[in-house]
């Protein structure tokens, strides 16, 4: 009984982690069609922003939920103005440019923070479920992921800004004809996407030992999640994160953590073979 509860929590946590690490990419890649290979590095920078802010005496939750997203968002803004805005619509070129950016960020972080492992301890204590101890921080991550999805939904579906952004992504010429500046809209959207990446890196920072190359561990998983999700932004994110999270956790518990990772990749291959356009090309059609 206790064990099944623990497994349930671990599954929710795995899904929440996938949602978190993929949300920023879903906006930048799913909406804007920019292949951002520096996505992992944005997360890494979010982690360092949190650790630096915390060591300067800022409350750890403020650092994670406010400061890190803002800082990484601003970095994203600069990157968009200097590099990305010249490359909209050129898929392969964005890939090359952002790969260069990722190398640059790794180098810069190494110069500033050194090539050593840093970290902060988790701010929430663990607690017992029957005979088991659970990491209380897992619940925090699940909550953040839920809040993030609700916020995305509210902004994209419920607000005028979201409507304009979605419209501009589909037909920027029409948006321009109606008096909106696509340039501004792209800039703002990229800022949001980067901030979401920064938030993910910040929230995960207390669980990992952070090194400048940490971003590499997330990049593959986040791309797989976003691509397998398909055209619908939020429905795709949730459906693919849920399927992969559950599959990988089942294999992790039944066999070993390595098999869990393998199962995730195999599931992705099978899924994309059956549904090359992603889950939401067949299910939840027309949803956001």
């Amino acid at each position: 009984m206790d064990l099944s509860f623990v497994i349930l929590i671990e599954m929710l946590y795995a899904v929440a982690t996938l949602v978190l690490i993929s949300a920023g990419l879903a906006v930048v890649f799913g909406m804007m069609k920019v292949i951002n290979l520096a996505h992992g590095e944005f997360m890494m920078l979010g982690g360092y922003a949190t650790i630096t802010a915390t060591s300067l005496g800022v409350n750890v939750f403020v650092a994670m939920l406010v400061i890190a997203p803002l800082i990484v968002g601003l970095i994203g803004l600069v990157v968009e103005r200097l590099v990305i805005r010249h490359l909209y619509g050129r898929l392969v070129d964005t890939m090359l440019a952002t790969w260069g950016l990722s190398l640059f960020f790794i180098g810069a972080a190494t110069m500033i923070f050194g090539n050593t492992t840093t970290g902060i301890s988790t701010p929430i204590p663990g607690f017992a479920v029957g005979a088991y101890q659970i990491n209380g921080y897992n619940f925090f991550i699940i909550l953040v992921a839920i809040a993030l999805v609700l916020a995305l939904l509210a902004v994209l579906k419920g607000s005028r800004a979201g409507l304009i952004a979605r419209g501009a992504m589909q037909r920027s010429d029409m948006a321009a004809a109606l008096g909106y500046s696509p340039d501004r809209i792209y800039m703002a959207t990229f800022f949001c996407g980067s901030a979401l990446s920064g938030l993910a890196g910040a929230v995960l920072a207390p669980l990992v030992g952070l090194v400048p190359t940490s971003g590499g561990a997330y990049i593959a998983k986040s791309f797989i999640t976003v691509i397998a999700g398909g055209p619908a932004l939020i429905a795709g994110l949730i459906s693919s994160a849920t399927s992969f999270g559950i599959v990988s956790q089942i294999f992790t518990f039944a066999v070993s953590p390595v098999m869990g990772e393998v199962a995730l990749l195999v599931a992705a291959v099978i899924l994309l073979r059956l549904m090359p356009q992603g889950i939401t090309s067949r299910f939840f059609k027309g949803k956001l």
């Binding site: 050593t116 301890s121 663990g126 017992a128 207390p206 669980l207 030992g209 190359t213 940490s214 990772e261």
Partner: protein
């Protein structure tokens, strides 16, 4: 203060020229010592202090009059954490610089990249790192601990601290982790225990949530974790975050080699049991003097770690052997090294094992406390029993293999 070769030679030349020093100037030609370490890139946390250790040891040797009245000159190369550069610089050291000895290499892959070059060119090679054991080659000398030396000491101590006999192993998924896990299984069985689970993790795994649940499902009395690198450090963090600390004792064969005790907070690290050849907290005159000399040369002694000390001791052992041999000839040097030579270094007494060219050394049992590795107990002069089981250079001097030790 950072010390590069030019600065160092300048300083050494100034010392040589100083009339106050009570010794004659060095003979004209210097002894060439090659050093090959990753002083940049992802392994620089290991490599930088090792490079500093070589320079410090050589500085001390020269200040004391050099070896055989000759000055020692360092030829150092930075391999940038790139295995391909090892072969290149290995060739350069042996064929172009024609050095008399090479110290260096960090990962086992880097050692194997240059070992054959050293052997072919008859350049004595010192590998001063703890590693998985089993290398049998007359041309190489190794003074780091091997898994058996470490695990043999750690397992009985950790099991003594545990409430029962059930052990769970979490290991890094490559040859070091696999081999070490096998040794742990052997010594747990030898001490009357039972291994209830063994899990291997690729080096980039950083999420251990499900593992924590699995471990608790198996309900062991002790967890032993030969995990490696930054991603695996997350395990110790998540272990503490889940409140497991204090419920099940934890031991590791790797945590602390890169000074990880300073990365984990005291709450996360306190109580973790380890066993190594060196700790900064060792309270011996040799270690105190060593730390003072290091701080004087480099500003702070905080970055000293086990492999840096091994490197320092490797250079000192080599110097003593050359003095004893009275020449730089390779065979004379090997004969001197095989004569049961030993030095008293910062980590204790290090004796060269003639049969395997490995080291007989002190293993210190330690516990993390307040971001330091407190020495609990010293087990003096442990034999490299794993390599001894497969390697005998006395009867088979032409051996040139790395044995995979069957347990």
């Amino acid at each position: 203060m950072s010390l590069n070769r030019r600065n160092f030679l300048g300083a050494a030349a100034a010392l040589t020229a100083s009339p106050l020093l009570p010794r004659a100037a060095f003979a004209a030609d210097s002894i060439k010592l090659g050093a090959i370490h990753d002083t940049s890139g992802i392994f620089d946390a290991y490599g930088k202090p090792m490079d500093q250790a070589v320079r410090l040891a050589v500085q001390e040797i020269n200040a004391a009059g050099g070896i055989l009245g000759r000055e020692v000159e360092v030829f150092a190369y930075d391999t940038q954490s790139d295995m391909a550069l090892y072969s290149q610089y290995g060739q350069q050291l042996t064929r172009q610089d024609r050095v008399d000895v090479v110290h260096g290499g960090i990962l086992s892959a880097s050692r194997e990249a240059i070992r054959q070059t050293m052997r072919k060119t008859k350049t004595p090679y010192f590998y001063n790192v703890l590693y998985e054991g089993g290398v049998c080659d007359r041309n190489i000398f190794i003074n780091g601990v091997t898994p058996a030396q470490q695990v043999e000491a750690l397992v009985p101590y950790a099991m003594g601290k545990a409430a029962g006999k059930k052990v769970y192993i979490l290991a890094a998924d490559y040859n070091y982790g696999q081999i070490t896990a096998r040794w742990i299984q052997k010594f747990v069985a030898d001490n009357g225990g039972e291994v209830v689970g063994t899990d291997f993790f690729p080096l980039d795994v950083s999420d251990f949530g499900s593992t924590l649940a699995k471990i608790q499902g198996a309900a062991p009395d002790l967890v032993i974790a030969p995990l490696v690198g930054g991603a695996h450090l997350s395990f110790f963090r998540q272990w503490a975050a889940a409140g497991m600390k204090g419920k099940i004792p934890l031991a590791s064969t790797t945590l602390g080699v890169g000074n990880e005790q300073k990365v984990l907070t005291a709450e996360e690290g306190d109580g973790i049991m380890v066993a190594y050849n060196y700790s900064q907290e060792l309270d011996t005159p040799a270690n105190t003097a060593f730390k003072a000399a290091w701080a004087k040369a480099y500003g702070s002694s905080d970055n000293i770690h086990e492999t840096a000390v091994s490197t320092y001791q490797g250079v000192k052992t080599w110097a003593k052997a050359v003095d004893m041999a009275g020449s730089l000839d390779r065979d004379a040097l090997i004969a001197a090294m095989e004569s049961g030579i030993s030095i008293d270094g910062p980590s204790g007494k290090i004796t060269v094992d003639a049969k395997t060219h490995h080291a007989v050394l002190d293993v210190h049992l330690m516990e993390f406390k307040g971001q330091k590795m407190q020495v609990i107990e010293t087990l003096p002069q442990r034999q490299p029993i794993d390599t001894q089981a497969v390697c005998d250079l006395g009867t088979n001097p032409n051996d040139n293999t790395q044995y995979e030790i069957q347990i």
